[in-house]
């Protein structure tokens, strides 16, 4: 690990100013990904600006009934917050499905959005990787890509975004707030991650030096019937090989509203717009759910080693939506 300077910021403008003064600088949140990448030599910052003491650690109900979550709120606090559990249960489930109790106590919401792929070629500095060293190649395509992308990838990179939290946030139309020297800005999470294309090293729409200050979740009355299901290669403490965040509003057997996002299938949490369009207004049946999944997965371009993910996601969509439809039916009957 390269030697580096360390500064602890006490206010947001101060943090942005500190970072702006050093071209090879990073903000340090929980450090669960950054410190690991520094140890493996993937990241070699000259300066770390510690943002953990910034006053960005609150979760508040917004005037319109949504939630604002500060960037330094830990994963644990986010998952345990009663308003999150009440309004967006799938978000709590997604956060709890990630990492371990220890890591969730350290990791922050802002850092989670910016975590890097766990593609083994990216994290091994002895190997080529277009994301780490632009133009060096993507050995995963011809090599080990068991847990790589089936959607939205490019010939330059097939890595997946590892976040669970991000999948639920994507389904709930989260908006990212950030600050630059010019002032505060916001960008919908749907536009936060850039398409891979020929520039896999450019991951987000954040301008250089920008500091994420928080996210807002718009009110989502339909989110009460929501859930997150994650499949991984051991029962806990492992990254997803496929996951689904979903919310469903079914009345009289017809889908009124649907939210659907996939994890571990693309370079970003994947909002399944085509599937949602196919679902809304249609019947709440397993056939319709499967057809909706197929509508989304029609664009899948699996590699030889990860074609199973198409089946896995399709099956997960059917299973999760079937469960949620049953929940809606029970609620409907109870209120009648």
């Amino acid at each position: 690990m390269r030697e580096f300077d360390y500064r602890r910021a006490s206010d947001v403008p101060g943090a942005v100013a500190l970072l702006g003064a050093e071209p090879e600088a990073h903000y340090l949140g929980g450090g669960t990904n950054l410190v690991d990448l520094m140890k493996s030599g993937v990241e070699r910052p000259a300066l770390l600006v510690d943002v953990r003491e910034l006053p960005l650690d609150r979760i508040e109900v917004t005037d319109d009934g949504g939630l604002h979550v500060g960037a330094t709120v830990t994963n644990s606090d986010l998952a345990a917050h009663p308003e999150v559990r009440r309004r967006y249960p799938a978000l709590t489930q997604a956060v709890l499905a990630g990492a371990s109790g220890q890591l969730r106590n350290m990791a922050t919401v802002g850092g989670n959005l910016l975590q890097r792929t766990r593609c083994a070629y990216f994290t091994d500095v002895s190997k080529p990787c277009n994301k780490r060293v632009p133009g060096s190649g993507c050995p995963a395509i011809a090599g080990e890509h068991h847990n790589h992308a089936i959607l939205g990838a490019s010939p330059h990179c097939v890595a997946v975004h590892p976040s669970d939290m991000g999948v639920a946030l994507t389904a709930f139309d989260a908006v990212v707030h950030y600050v630059t020297a010019e002032g505060p800005h916001e960008v919908p999470l749907a536009e936060f991650y850039l398409p891979v294309g020929a520039t896999p090293h450019r991951e987000t729409a954040l301008p250089a030096g920008a500091l994420i200050t928080g996210i807002t979740l718009p009110p989502a009355p339909d989110a009460a019937a929501s859930c997150y299901r994650k499949v991984r290669e051991r029962a806990s403490y492992a990254f997803a090989i496929g996951s689904v965040a979903a919310a469903l509003d079914v009345r009289d057997g017809t889908v009124r509203a649907a939210r659907l996002a996939f994890g571990a299938v693309a370079s970003r949490p994947w909002r399944a717009h085509a599937a949602e369009r196919a679902l809304i207004g249609g019947p709440a049946t397993a056939e319709a759910f499967a057809a909706a999944a197929d509508a989304e997965l029609a664009a899948a371009e699996p590699l030889p080693g990860n074609a199973y993910k198409v089946t896995l996601i399709r099956n997960l969509v059917v299973a999760v939506l079937t469960e949620l439809a049953a929940e809606c039916r029970r609620t409907e009957e109870a209120t009648r």
Partner: protein, 719 residues
């Protein structure tokens, strides 16, 4: 003053009674110090640099810029390292050249040690090591392990291990069989990954090389280092007080050699700790295997032919044979037997012994094949095994020291509820989960290694046992305390057992499930001798009275026999074929493994072995990148071992089976727990789904694959 004749109530019966670990308090309070935790003044930190290429030659090592970095003391490499002795027969036979570090410019595999950077602090050493520029001339490599590799050969047999054994006319018996199972099974590259990384601190003290280490046999490490550095055996002392797991990986490895080299150059203590990543290439591993099993049987399941062939990989510098086919030789009767272990040399690190070497992968193939035969014959899997129970060794013709396999099945079947099992697959469901149960047999050889021990009656009425044993988590320190207490007829709290110091003399290493048996034997002999001396009466002088033992003659006099521990494994699994997830719901193992010294720690160890089997069945797999020949994701996030959430209630129990040749009645329990466990789980997955999984691990994508096309499509989902 205490005399030898002071009356004390003789306490016999410590062996067989549950005792918490004698070092338990130290372990739960953090007071127990492991190898990298002993403080030293003037300690320097060494960091190994390993090759990033798979095969070639080192063209250059640019040490100068690194030597100029803060705190850096030296950079050792093939251009400046002291010569090591390479031609010798070590305690484990011909040495693995992997130990002969920095002797030449050749790189035979990825992760080969090419340099050691030593600095004042570990942070400085790490950054300097990672900054060291090493250039290579690349040569083409071959890391593609597969059955049918043209380099496959049958290794030379050794006096202790035949590569190939045959009996009868295999082809004729196969032809005459009503039912033939012919199946190929594979297991992947698996790694030990003790939680404590390898760590050694070396220093010179009064002309002796002292090494504070974490290992499975300090005398073995001391002897190997003495030979490598051309020192008298008495000039090397290795100590290893607490060991954070070994499983076969903690022998002599590059880190001890590197630390000793650097301590010699710098004249100060040097510590070398391996990183988790380096452990993938420097400490050995279990080779992947490709196995073929052919079973020919009469319609009722009686075996006429048993053919088991194994294939494993080894490095280009050292031959290691993973003896997968051996387990069949003493397990089941058949008119014709053919078992053979084959090897292929690839540009990979040398594999080594890993918990139940041979038996773990071998039993997966054999015990799954038995289950397939049971299905084909319409015979219950336990009945099938009983039908093929041998009276004497099927190939050796030797009598069994004891063989209580069927007792294990009987007790286990009763407790597991096997009698209520419907043998048909794919019938049981609990929500999204398909349920199934499976069974398999387990066996592991009962071995003993010559050992010496010293037992001292101290002047204060206590007793001290000294033996170069290792407690790698087995509870050996506690077991030996109980064994000594019984042999001395005193309470265990009057016995102190000191282990892990090569100065205590020759003793078996912690391996082959033979540690506690071998050491207990020596301790018992010495204790009996001491009691005889004490019985003569008189005062115990301040230095105490010491009796010594050596079991070489006793063990050498053991007649040829089939000696094994046995077990019956049971597992229940739940499989979601729509996601590919497999969850083990319960496991039960019933073992016949000699006298159980400490039921508390023994149960834990059996269960731990079974969890290794679970982890092998569902999770473990090291993957290589074909293009570079290097590992993909060599870390504990990429190499999954079972986490707590993967492990259900796992129960182990045993039947009475004291070994009549061993003074304490011990057989050995360290390895039999893993044997057959993966097969029981794979057989249960078949029972749940109707699909045979012959390739480990049983990953979600493999479970999904056969169902991919069979899943209900919208148009088929109408009725």
């Amino acid at each position: 003053m205490t005399t030898a004749t002071t009356p004390t109530a003789p306490v016999v019966g410590a062996v067989g009674t549950a005792h918490t670990r004698v070092e338990g308090r130290d372990k739960v309070t953090g007071a127990a110090r492991y190898a990298a935790e002993i403080p030293f003044a003037e300690l320097a930190h060494g960091w190994l640099v390993v090759s990033t290429v798979t095969r070639g030659r080192i063209r250059s090592i640019d040490a100068a810029p690194v030597l100029a970095m803060p705190g850096v003391l030296t950079v050792l490499h093939h251009g400046n390292a002291q010569p090591l002795e390479t031609q010798y027969t070590g305690p484990m036979g011909a040495p693995d050249p992997t130990l002969q570090i920095f002797q030449h410019d050749r790189v035979p595999h990825a992760g080969w040690p090419v340099a050691l950077v030593v600095a004042e602090t570990s942070e400085q050493a790490r950054e300097a090591a990672e900054s060291l520029v090493v250039e290579y001339d690349l040569e083409p490599h071959d890391v593609a392990f597969a059955d049918g590799h043209p380099g496959t050969y049958v290794p030379e047999s050794t006096p202790r291990a035949a590569a190939e054994r045959t009996k009868g006319d295999l082809a004729a018996e196969l032809d005459a069989s009503a039912v033939v199972v012919d199946a190929e099974y594979t297991t992947p590259e698996e790694h030990h990954h003790p939680m404590e990384p390898h760590a050694a601190t070396a220093y010179w003290d009064s002309g002796r090389l002292e090494v504070v280490d974490t290992n499975q046999g300090s005398i073995y490490v001391a002897q190997e280092l003495a030979q490598l550095f051309s020192l008298d055996a008495s000039a090397v002392r290795v100590r290893s007080e607490h060991v954070g797991g070994g499983f076969g990986a903690k022998g002599t490895r590059a880190h001890q050699v590197a630390a000793a080299m650097a301590a010699t150059v710098l004249h100060r203590p040097v510590r070398v700790v391996l990183t988790r990543r380096q452990m993938f290439s420097l400490i050995g591993y279990r080779s992947p295997t490709a196995q073929r099993v052919r079973l020919g049987a009469d319609a009722d399941g009686r075996l006429r032919a048993l053919h088991h062939q194994g294939l494993n990989q080894t490095s280009t510098v050292y031959e290691f044979v993973e003896r997968s086919a051996d387990v069949a030789r003493a397990m089941y009767d058949a008119d014709a037997h053919h078992t053979v272990n084959r090897v292929v040399r690839l540009d990979v690190p040398s594999p080594t012994y890993m918990r139940a070497p041979g038996e773990a992968p071998g039993s997966f193939a054999l015990e799954c094949a038995l289950d397939e035969l049971a299905e084909r014959c319409g015979v219950d899997p336990i009945v099938l095994r009983a039908r093929n129970e041998p009276a004497v060794g099927p190939v050796s013709g030797l009598p069994y020291s004891s063989r209580k396999l069927l007792d294990c099945f009987e007790v286990g079947a009763g407790r597991f509820g096997w009698a209520e099992r419907d043998p048909r697959p794919g019938l049981r469901r609990d929500g999204r989960w398909l349920l199934g149960t499976g069974t398999a047999a387990a066996s592991f050889p009962t071995l003993a290694g010559p050992s010496t021990a010293a037992v001292t009656a101290e002047a204060d009425g206590t007793f001290t046992v000294r033996i170069t044993a290792a407690d790698v988590g087995t509870g050996a320190r506690t077991a030996l305390t109980l064994v000594a207490a019984d042999a001395l007829e005193v309470s265990p709290d009057r016995v102190t057992v000191r282990i892990g110091d090569s100065d205590f003399g020759q003793a078996m290493l912690a391996g082959g499930s033979a540690g506690t048996r071998s050491w207990s034997w020596a301790v018992t002999l010495a204790a009996h001798d001491l009691r005889e001396q004490l019985a003569l009466g008189g005062h115990v002088p301040p230095e105490g009275i010491t009796a010594r033992s050596d079991t070489t003659a006793a063990i050498g006099a053991l007649p040829p026999r089939e000696r094994h521990a046995y077990g019956a494994q049971f597992a229940e699994v739940a499989v979601d074929v729509t996601t590919g997830e497999v969850r083990v719901r319960r496991m039960l193992g019933v073992f016949a493994a000699g006298r159980i010294v400490n039921p508390l720690t023994a149960r834990n160890q059996f269960v731990g072995g079974m969890i290794w089997g679970l982890s092998m069945a569902l999770h473990e797999e090291a993957v290589r990148d074909g293009a570079t020949g290097t590992h993909v994701a060599p870390d504990l996030a990429g190499y999954h071992v079972a986490a707590n959430a993967d492990v259900p209630l796992v129960e182990a129990d045993w039947v009475d089976d004291p070994d009549d040749e061993d003074p304490v009645g011990i057989k050995g329990i360290g390895e039999v727990g893993i044997v057959g466990a993966a097969a029981a789980i794979a057989n249960a997955v078949w029972h749940a789904t109707g699909v045979r999984h012959r390739h480990l691990p049983i990953r979600p994508d493999r479970v999904l694959a056969p169902w991919d096309e069979a899943l209900p499509r919208p148009s088929e989902d109408r009725d």
